[in-house]
Amino acid sequence: MSNLIAWIIRAIPFGTIIMYGAMGEILTEKSGNLNLGVPGIMYLGGFAGFASAFYYENNASAPNGAVCVLLSLVCCVAASMLGGLIYSFLTITLRANQNVTGLALTTFGMGIANFFGVFILNGKSYTAAPLANSAYAHKLPFLSGLGAVGQTVFGYGFLVYAAIVLAVALHLFLNRTRVGLNLRAVGENPATADAAGISVTRYKYLATCVGAGISGIGGMYYVLDYNSGIWATTGQIEALGWLAVALVIFTTWRPLNAVWGAYLFGVLYWLYQFLPSLLGFTVASYVTDLVQMVPYVVTIVVLIVGSLHRKKENQPPAHLGLAYFREER
């Protein structure tokens, strides 16, 4: 039983990381932009959040947890949005190919984060921002003490709950507001949206930059909460970024699905560690390597099934990945 709890406690935060990544990308993709730079953006956000908290902690006279949180959030979102801006400028204004631009951004973001990270690391293999971590990981005061339920449901840092709230907000925005409807129109058929007077350019820019900001929070959550506030030169964030991209497909571009989908991926990811002991047998380590592919295989199955049935509601936005040029209508 304690194994199951331990599994859930690991799965949920893991899911939260990719939930942010996926939600941001859903927003971006609804506007028709396929941003394969999500891993890079998560790097940028994660690093910016960490670095700002780190410098504040070590240089302020009486560092305050709340200020830490605020500062790192602001820096994280700013850095991520900057990444989104680069992508937007290249693909919307300069009409560059989206796939290639996204991949370049991933390379770039990872480079920036790890390169500047080295300066902070200063020769050590890892470094930490403990105050920020405790601020983020601060659990709900009373409820988290309520035994198993308390641990599994209420025992997480505030960003976990914020993610769920954000998913609901995103769902309402996309499906119940006029602006959300306009955004979806832009992604499905920009020519028609343009003719209806919607500023395609503005919507794409905003959706991509805001989406990037949201994805970046995922990266920051990884560093400051999930990884206990420790920064090290790593490729882990990239893997998480691609998992987030997979999650977008899995959710068929619906933010609400991102909630349980992300947690499901988290459960699957930690499957190899907890399932054997849960079921009472040991498994050779090479089998756990194979289990790592499960989330991706599940996503492939979703892709295939989605294309088999071709139900309109489950398709990606019709103009995903294509640039819009008014004269070519």
């Binding site: 080295v118 089998v287 592919m293």
Partner: protein
Amino acid sequence: MSDIQIKEPLIRVVKRDQASMRQKIAARGAAILLALVLDALFIFFVTGLNPFSVYGVMFQGTFGTKVRFSWAVRDLVSLLCVGIALAPAFKMKFWNVGAEGQVLMGGLMTALIMVYWGDRLPAPALFAVMLLTSVAAGAVWGLVPAFFKARWKTNETLFTLMMNYVATSFVACAVNIMRGQASSLGKLNMGSHAGWFPTVFGQRYNINIIVVLILTFAMYFYLKYTKHGYEISVVGESENTARYAGINVAKVIMRTMAISGAVSGLCGFLIVCGRDQTISTTTAGGNGFTAIIVAWLAKFNTFYMALISFLLVFLQKGAAEIASAYSLNDYAASIITGIILFCILGSEFFINYRVIFRRERRAK
């Protein structure tokens, strides 16, 4: 007739008819220049060093010594090989983002045969079997997403992307089994050297270079002068036109992706036998993704791909050199590469479109 004032926007963008070669070179040249300036600024702000001396050091990274140059060519060839694999798929507008996985599967088959049959087959037979299985493995890895795209229009970008991670998982598992109790998998068949490429002109990977050179010409020829190549162009342009012409679109998609995957698998074979003599999840080393950028920028022309691959490898080697010389870290290469790519991608705009500024006009 009344005076009609025409209101023109400040900046207008118009698609260009055809950019002359001079304009293309000018745009690309400007892009690289801009990138170099941005990079110099970056280097200066971060390290306080004179950018020119830093560039000088970068130059050393590739051209400093004969050995360094040889290594540069070796890495160039690995990257170029994947680019060649992507060329037919991209020409068909099939976005094969799965080269990384296809390379890994090819390399995996090679490694497995090397380890388990290395002592049972004479060298020529061993190489033949390794070659055939890696090509087949890569082809299958490419064929699966192609089949679903051809039959049910499944999105190939996302499918091939996911296949990468499935392949990585297989490789991790195999490496785990093969290394047994050891902490890491070193070079395979250390004792017998079974399955290692023989040294030619001093290096084992020179065979890689020769093979890729041949492939460069072969793929260029295949795409430009053969009936298959023509079909690929038509399908890439418009499926409707292809059907109208009587081309079997599904067959062309699958055949082309089988070839694309096969060449990637071959690349894996070359890397394992010629360069690393071992397999790991990083065997493809991100080349699968970088090659996408190479193939795209080169507009699927394999000779341009060679040039662009060389530029990228030069940057990587240079950055590694800077890292060791100035105690930075070689992630600087990613930053520099990223900036150059952004600039080149941006320059595409000026090649394809014209920017017109407003002139005040009064028309009758």
